[in-house]
Symmetry: C3
Subunit: 338 residues, 3 copies
């Protein structure tokens, strides 16, 4: 797709310093671009790459414009402006509606005419699929699931019975939505499974990464609100609610019956304990453990960063006796006071 | 399914304070119930919900009975009694035996007449499947695997060759059992793969959550004993043995050649190192690291809980020098002693 | 497969102390072996097993030879020598070339004549598959993917469009390669998805464990170099590069735009933050967090090992105030100095 710099500037609302008739073919990275490419600069670390870039134009902040050797698209938030340009130059892939002959559609399924159902996919009884939705190969949609319009389910997605998906939802391969929550009760040393009778509601404009799992509620529904973006290999337990426009990075684990607010950012490899509430606008940095509710917006951390192994061994020996160490200090302080 | 309160009281062995002929349709949550619902109360946090509940009856402890505005089922362990009631009101889904026409069954497979094999499932050579087992769509059962009676494999489960599954086992979508263990030997800087010749034995009444993986043993078998309940996205390495009635929560990682005892509870996002033993009745709280064997029953922890980011930064700066800090204290103590 | 001890000694380059015409059927563990078995001894913990072993021969170090009650294969690195023997006795499974009738091959796919394509697999447009490659059941290979020769894709592997796989690559079930990287830009509180236009390149002799995910690059490619061995449930973000002969253990999380050097060993359940570099020959022990670049080879750690829950509670109370504690010590030191 070829567009002019002027068209891009208008689309992304940036100030063009350059020839508006120059043609752009696609986006590229700073250090690996060629004429016809549009690139972006936001991180001082890559200043040398900016100075040498062969791209036709660069999206950047006003302060960085003077260092740029080529045409510039000056924007307040260059990363966002670049994102918009990349979307403009790479519209969603089109597909021909229909069903692959190997797909298995239940006679009772209600699939809009302009959908595509991929090879070896299985669409169960009374499933409803909205207009313009693409179901890739190997997907399994169980009975009574409802999928909105203009969704894209990549290969090997599994939606279990009664799960509801909104509009423009993007599900990557290996996603499992609606498996039973982990509900067990102890009966004299044996575990009794508790029926998981709720479902999962995924609202509009949600994206869910590869091999992420979201369990159905025990009695009520597990809910993921509008605009939530979830990375790969995330686990979300039963009855949990994820608020609008929250982002959850890779391999984070959210236990059951958690309420996460709006516009939160949950770092990768974090773990959030069950039955707690996290208010709006909370940022949890990577690999943090969240055992209790968070009632104030802000940034929270607990990840322990590496040191060389020798220092770590010594620190850990002390750490195991930290309470004793603190008591010792208290005693010394008392004695000194005398 | 409609039953009377009297029938439920008898089934779950609870004392009924109310009309035994009242009809119950299903279980529901305290705050979102209606006449015809049975609910339960175990957590003081939900006292306000109890006082306003519209349910027909509530399962609770004797001490809480006076606060309950409606019929009560008084039980010693109300959560367990509720679990039993939920199971009574929601018996396992029935299915019509047979094979979907798109399923691929090897001529040498031995599948009991009353099983169901779902759409696009693949049943390999000499596989044996016991009476009353349901294999959902998209499952792949490789050669010589053996599945017991009354199991349920949800969609997209993969069992590799020779894996053995007991009776009444429940496997959720994306489960992979019997992939090669991670066995490599270093040969002058290159890794040589070591053949993984063992298998996996899953015994009776085991439940395994979505996208959990259990590797085959190197020489012997990986074994999961009776009644073990494993949540989603758990990883269990080769040669590991999980004892009876142990529960492993979401995203826990158990390395290879680990022996876990009976009735243990492994918290979510925990990691257990290889070649260690954990005795019976051990509780590991969430996000803990277990580098060494545990020889005594009890509760063990290492997860580091979050603080606000500013405090965390300061604490971490000190933590990196914890050994130095402890030495300083020792010196001060010595000096004070003089 | 039956071979003589003499043939094995020659194959693994070990010194035979025993009868070279003795026949070996397969490898087995020390404590569970029988005549006809070859086993190995590398860990003093298993000395009692060595003394009682019923195996026909044992691979071990020279120093341990005297304790061995049966024939010995003495090697400098007994574990490596055992690995070679196990490979010699268990050559790769053969298969008959062809396609299962239920496989779906696009007319434009270019599949070598001696490949096998399993039941219900889907091979997309213009896919290229090299000589001697085995694609198991339920695999989905999207358009324009390229797979080298002598690869083995177990069941239910998903390769997305344009992904490139080298020769002799082994992919376990549930692997997803080439899903979109987690690229989002914030637009006034809403997340805008950034198109992920790169791909994934997996080079030769790589092994990737069950349910591991490797995302496609945003603009450039995500790259896994020759000889890398990745365990189960690992997540590798977009644009990341993993150097030759690096090993990544189970459930490790590598964020985006990370460069990992050659011959590194990343411990299980570790998490590596985005946009950092780890030099060659770095060992990260299990459950460590790596927030910054590592510029020197060596062993690094941060995992916090468990203590009993009571000690942990007390230590954590102190830990939350570690900075205050350190300040108190500084004050006491100052005062003592006066």
């Amino acid at each position: 797709m070829t567009v002019t710099l002027g068209e891009i500037a208008a689309e992304i609302n940036a100030e063009l310093q350059g020839d508006p008739t120059d043609e752009i073919i696609n986006v590229a990275s700073l250090h690996n671009s060629a004429p016809g490419d549009l690139t972006f600069y936001v991180n001082k670390r890559y200043l040398a790459d900016l100075e040498k870039t062969r791209a036709s134009a660069v999206v950047l902040a006003a302060a960085d414009a003077p260092t740029c050797p080529t045409a510039r698209l000056v924007a307040t938030d260059p990363y966002l402006a670049y994102a918009k340009a990349a979307r403009f130059l790479n519209p969603a892939t089109q597909f021909n509606p229909g069903s692959h002959p190997s797909a298995v559609l239940d006679a009772g399924a209600d699939v809009a005419d302009d959908c595509y159902i991929g090879a070896n996919s299985v669409i169960g009884e009374d499933v409803v699929i909205g207009s313009g939705t693409y179901i890739g190969p190997g997907c399994i949609i169980e009975a009574n699931a409802v999928i909105g319009s203009h969704c894209r389910l990549h290969a090997n997605v599994t939606l279990l019975e009664r799960v509801e998906i909104g509009a423009r939802v993007l599900l990557h391969p290996g996603v499992v939505i609606g498996a039973d929550g982990y509900g067990i009760a102890n009966d004299s040393g044996r575990w009794l499974k508790i029926p998981q009778l709720g479902s999962v509601i995924i609202r509009d404009d949600v994206e869910i990464g590869a091999n992420t799992t979201i369990d159905r509620g025990a009695l009520e529904n597990t809910v993921v609100e509008n605009g939530v973006k979830i990375d790969n290999q995330v686990q979300i337990g039963h009855n949990t609610r994820v608020g609008e426009h929250t982002a959850i990075a890779g391999a984070a684990v959210v236990a059951g019956s958690v309420t996460i607010g709006k516009r939160c950012m949950i770092g990768g490899a974090s773990a959030i304990s069950g039955h707690i509430e996290i208010t709006d606008d909370v940022v949890i940095t990577g690999m943090s453990g969240v055992p209790n509710s968070i009632k104030e917006a802000g940034v929270y951390s607990s990840g322990v960063p590496i040191t060389d192994n020798r220092t770590w061994r010594k620190n850990m020996a002390r750490f195991r006796n930290l309470d004793e160490l603190a008591r010792k200090i208290a005693r010394m302080e008392k004695q000194a006071g005398k």
